[in-house]
Each structure stands twice: as C-alpha cells, then as structure tokens.
Symmetry: C2
Subunit: 222 residues, 2 copies
C-alpha cells in the first residue's frame, strides 16, 4: 500500500470561480496533466469504478487520485491499496470543491509528473455541478438502484457532464430501470453527453469507458 | 389524483436559523401538527417509502407532504396519486431547506388541519444535515446499494437523525452490506438513533416504522 496524506482544504478566496478554473486548466495544459472531475450521489460506486479504471490504465500512464470528502479517509485508503498515488482532501463540511479548493489540492499533491489526475468530488448531485473545478472533463456516475428519473430531478449535473457512466448494471434484475428512457432524458439535457453502461464490480463495459478516457488524456497531453 | 401546486421558495432572510427553527416548532406544537423532515441521497427511495407509509396511516390521521426539489414535479405527482395533499417546493438551486424556507412552504401549503406533514428534503447527505428545518423529528433513509460505509463518510447526517431507515433490503442478494457494521457505525455517532430495516417495495419492515411514527405523532399532538 502506498502512503497517502490527508489535507484540510480551506474555503476558496476567489470571487470569480470561472476565471480561476480557466487559470487552473491553463496550468494543467502546460504541465501536460489531464484532470478528470468525477461526481455522483453517495454510494453510486465512484471509488470502485476508479479502482477498475486504474487497474486497466496504470501501466500506460502515471495516475494520481484526489479524494474529496467531508470526513474519513476510507476512499483514499482504498485507492492507495490499488497502487496509485492518492491524497485525501477534507472539505470542512463544504458540499463541493471549487477551482480554488481544487488548486490547493493539486499544489499539495504535486501533479507535475502525472498524466492523469482524478478528482473524486464530494458525493452529491447538487452542489458539485455548480462549480467549475478547473477539470478538463467532467464525468458523473448514475447507478441503476438510484433510478432512471434522476436526470429530471438533478438536471444541472447531467447538463455539465461530458460523460455519464451508468453503473451497477449487474443489479438490473432487482430494479426497474429503463435504459432507453434514461438515455433520452440525458440527451435532452445534454445532446453531446457520452453514455457508457458499466458494472465496476463485474468489469462489464469498463473497457469502452477506459478507451474514451485514454483518448481524452492523449488528446490533452500531446 | 389530488391537485398539487408548485411553489418557488426564496432564500431565507433569517440570520439565526436555530432560533427560527424553534419558532416554527412552537407554532406546529400549537396547531397540533407533527412535521417530519425526511432526508437521504438521491434515489434511496424517499418517495416510495412515503407512499408505503401513507397507505398505512392515511385512514387514521390527516397527512400532507411537501416535496422539495431543485426542479421537476415528479415526486409531488407521485404523492398526489397516493391520495394525500401534496405541494412541490422548488429551491431555486439551493441544496437544502432551512427553517425560513420550510416555513414559507408550510404557510403556502396551509397545515392547520393536518396531523402529520412530511417534508421530503432535497436528495443530499451533506447540506440538509446542517440546517434545522423546524421539524419535530428528523428521519433519514440509507439504501442497501449505497453501502454500509456511509456513516463514516457523512457523519453529521447520521448524528442529527432520530430515525434511520435502511431501505431496499430486498436487494441484499446482489450487494455486500453488513447489517451489524452499519448499526454499530450509526450508534457510535448517535447512540439514540432508532434503526428500522425496510423494503418500501415489498413492504417488509414498514409496519414497525409506521408504529414508531404513529406514536411520535400521537405524543406530539396530544
């Protein structure tokens, strides 16, 4: 197991978050680091999906993970066990990260030598959608048990996500979940959203998602 | 189907939320109305649990439901179909309700003749935990697919909840979920928390939860 640190992130002092986010993205471009902002509800499988993703990509690129949480170091520990560098960001009760907070994390982490940094945002479909973190792409996970009506109830999250991963498809036998309806609802909000159906547990669909991520990282870092 | 209205709730102007919450509770006590604040992650089954609860209690008490959501009227429509009065509160992007916002909802709804009002809070384990709404009791739902580690990651929510409903126990065959571990984690944060294992879908465990709620309403309204 690699070591990981726990950092207490302070509320951002920047008034113009969008401008700050653009600055963060500019620095990432310069140092050839791709930042993925990964969002979802609590318990939709962000950490398990990340572990499955890391196992497929870690031999071809240098990966680091920043785990943002209100409290605990459960996730950083799990990611560290998966064999990549990780850091735990404690948000001090804040329900999201903004660009300034993300930058504090990146600075403390030291990301110059990394090709891909994943920011696992606080589990929440509301607040994280409202703040550009400076990430190159936004991805979100919707899990089958949460239901196919979530795009109707949390539209902003689906609107700002470049990729939607529909996770836990291995549990479909015990839930009513309409694949076509969910795709239609997502594309109505965000016609360009890429949608992948996956099971982080069984590995189904993970290769297609990793292909997308590999291409996005290559495109950004070249 | 009963009619329901959609109300746009404004950001509260009260600086001291705790004081405002006490005032709301005092008014509810006077008019003999019990307010339950129901919280959970998105997709953990708040609305389905409410429908199962309503079907058991609606012949013995007058019930009303306030559905708080960022957007949409999916939930108010479902509750209205269940045969009780409901109102949809739109929070205008806010991730929680505070006491002032709750009071706006109660006033618009007209709750004097109701024995039990349920406030279905915004689906979120972070922000709603930070604001006393003026409710008599707080209940939260944790669903099996979300995982037994959630008390470690969202401790405040479990600390301020009088009741924790562990929902979707009918799906246990496809998830790793440790009943003993989750109870231990909840009780470490909140030794007095009542825990009920339920399936809103099959009805398992709902009677015991309804007994608790029936007693709490009687105690408050006598």
């Amino acid at each position: 197991m690699d070591d990981f640190r726990v950092i207490e992130i302070k509320r951002s002092v920047f008034e113009n978050n969008d401008k700050e986010a653009e600055r963060v993205r500019g620095e990432l471009k310069e140092q050839k680091t791709f930042l993925l902002n990964l969002m979802s509800s609590p318990g939709s499988g962000k950490t398990t999906t990340l572990k499955a993703t890391i196992s497929r990509l870690k031999d071809e690129m240098k990966i680091g993970v920043m785990e943002a949480d209100i409290d605990s170091d459960v996730d950083a520990r799990a990611i560290s066990d998966a064999g990549v560098r990780s850091i735990q960001l404690h948000t001090g009760g804040m329900c999201h990260l903004d660009a300034g907070m993300t930058e504090q994390g990146l600075k403390e982490f030291g990301t110059e030598d990394l090709d891909l940094v994943v920011l696992e945002n606080v589990g929440n479909l509301v607040c994280p959608a409202e703040f550009d973190t400076g990430a190159v792409k936004n991805a979100m996970i919707l899990s089958v048990p949460e239901g196919d009506d979530k795009p109707l109830k949390y539209p902003l999250m689906f609107t700002i996500s470049d990729v939607v991963l529909i996770n836990k498809i291995d549990t479909k036998s015990v839930f009513d979940f309409d694949d076509d309806a969910v795709c239609e609802r997502i594309h109505k909000l965000n016609p360009n959203a890429e949608i992948f159906f996956i099971s982080a547990k069984t590995g189904e669909g993970i290769d297609a998602w990793c292909d997308w991520l590999r291409n996005a990282v290559k495109e950004w870092n070249k």
